[in-house]
């Protein structure tokens, strides 16, 4: 399975929760598959999906799922100690780990080589870290939501992209409807 197939499969599981969608193709794919006002699409700023997600989770009680990528976590490695030391039990970090920088042409990342993001997350102090295969992701997210424990999920999937249109929605519209969902 490639990332877009993973997102298609988990869409029904996450659609009733707040979702931070990572820059580039992950946002574009979620937007195409199941656009929801509860989705916050990142149009720029590589690396900060997990940070934005943690901030939302710490500020309010609704459940938050940050969809991140292996390349983006590598860009903002400092996020993992911050997450570990500021546990929010309404927060799930889903790292879609396809071992490549998908949005820029599938250049390989170190996570697809020797580096284990699950082990790094554990070493940073994250207490509930689950590494799973792409096909298991929906069930793993369901279990994490039911556990009411902050969970880091590393979903190992294949590299590859499908053609999707860019998001043309205005950023202020994206964040305004996201904030209204939170307040509602």
């Amino acid at each position: 399975m490639i990332r877009s197939e993973v997102l298609r499969e988990i869409a029904p599981v996450i659609r009733d929760h707040l979702v931070i969608c990572n820059i580039g193709l992950p946002s574009q794919e979620m937007h195409l598959i199941d656009d929801q006002p509860s989705n916050f699409y990142m149009l720029g700023t590589m690396g900060l999906s997990s940070s934005i997600g943690l901030g939302v989770a710490l500020a309010q009680d609704k459940k938050v799922i940050a969809i991140d990528g292996d390349g983006s976590v590598l860009t903002n490695f400092g996020t993992l100690p911050t997450i570990a030391n500021n546990a929010a039990d309404n927060f799930i970090l889903l790292i879609v780990d396809n071992g490549s920088y998908g949005s820029t042409g599938d250049q390989p990342t170190y996570a697809g080589k020797k580096t284990s993001l699950a082990k790094v997350a554990e070493a940073c102090g994250c207490e509930n870290v689950v590494e799973c295969q792409a096909e298991e992701t929906g069930q793993v997210i369901k279990d994490a939501l039911a556990s009411n424990k902050m969970t880091v999920i590393v979903c190992k999937c294949e590299s590859g992209n499908v053609k999707v249109p860019v998001i043309t929605m205005d950023p202020v519209v994206i964040r305004d409807r996201f904030m209204r969902t939170i307040q509602g």
């Binding site: 900060l48 997990s50 940070s51 901030g55 710490l58 309010q60 904030m179």
Partner: protein, 165 residues
Amino acid sequence: MSVNQRIVDDFKKNDISFVTTVPCKQLAGVIDAIEEDESIYHIPANKEDEGMGLCAGAWMGGKRPAIIMQNTAIGVTINTLVTLTQYYRMPLPMLISYRGELGEPVACQVEMAVHTKALLAQLNIPTYHFHKEADAEELDAILKHTFMCNKPVAILTDASFWNGY
């Protein structure tokens, strides 16, 4: 009242309850005061752009945020300020130690000081410079202004300001 407590009190007066920090020697006292205050969630960040991501999330989640950092961080955070904070129109008070000004003992800090105001001007970031003790009297108004206009706003605090206390 110490300047540190005064800053924290102005933060609280403006409902700021989520503060991320990356330390600087000049800011140590105000960071301690933030940490000690139970009505503010203090979340140290490992890098300032990470901190701005946390603040963006916290604001969308309903809390008023602020970031405390050194002016060297302007170099680190330009992309985040432009593509996240400004692009999505989010408020962010930035309390910044203005290293490299008069009284600075570390020559390398001057290298970033000479670019600080130019970069902030280029980014169209409203910028205030606290040089003397009395300048802190404007903080309350600056914070109100920030949350009125939904912009990142810089408050540069130099060595003369901190030594005045």
